[in-house]
Symmetry: C2
Subunit: 147 residues, 2 copies
């Protein structure tokens, strides 16, 4: 099992970041405009869609201002069963986001693509919370021929 790890700091409170990752309005404003479902309830399902397809996540853990954990229940084969973990900590004026997309079966090229793409989306989350304007799909930053 291998993992994608990232860490960003958002000049905001952990409560603001928590809202941006547990509400459809928040998620749609930094990840993909095509987001529907329920992110603020254990067992809720979030559906994220992009031009080539998408991901369905089941909300497994919710600790307000501290932790969110999703399990991928539908999407590309490599994603199914993996976990996405958000750990939040307030350090002075910074909300520190420790992000993990864990449980990949192997280090395939698609995993490398997703790793870079997660960094881009985390920067979109940071910008959204700090300025009010993120860069969600379909207007996200293109990184390669795989979008």
């Amino acid at each position: 099992m291998v993992d994608i790890l990232h860490r960003v700091g958002v000049k905001a409170t952990v409560a603001e970041v928590y809202t941006a990752i547990t509400t459809v309005e928040g998620l749609a404003a930094w990840w993909t405009t095509q987001t529907v479902g329920e992110g603020n309830e254990i067992g809720g399902v979030l559906k994220f869609r992009f031009i080539p397809g998408g991901f369905d996540m089941s909300v497994v853990e919710l600790v307000p201002g501290k932790r969110v954990l999703w399990e991928v229940i539908d999407g590309p084969e490599e994603w199914i069963g993996t976990h996405i973990v958000w750990d939040l900590t307030q350090v002075d004026e910074w909300a520190i986001v420790n992000f993990r997309h864990e449980g990949w079966k192997e280090e395939v090229e698609f995993m490398s693509h997703c790793s870079t793409k997660w960094a881009i989306y985390l920067m979109s989350l940071k910008t959204l919370v700090e300025t009010g304007l993120g860069a969600p799909a379909p207007d996200d930053v293109m990184i390669s021929n795989w979008h």
Copy 2:
């Protein structure tokens, strides 16, 4: 052992990307302006400096247009002995960069930071090669309280 993986596509030739990762002029224009040494010779040493410190790399493998491999010989304790591997492939008009920073002892928070930061620098490399203008340190994109 755990690894940082990334994948970006640069609208250019692999030869152009290879130049940007094997010459001091190229490296200084996307990673850090404070770069000295020899990147285009096996056994050459590259010294990269940032405000808080830096990294020394020994050039271990060089296959023009295809592969570059560095071993970290000095820098933060977590980096020493790790390898940085650049695999390049031309896919139509895209130079695909498969990047690995491999051999981390454990998944520490500093590794998460470096993972996100590598994504930012790879986007700087992409922009440099595509437009002539990168964003190297000290004018790189800040991602958190750790810079």
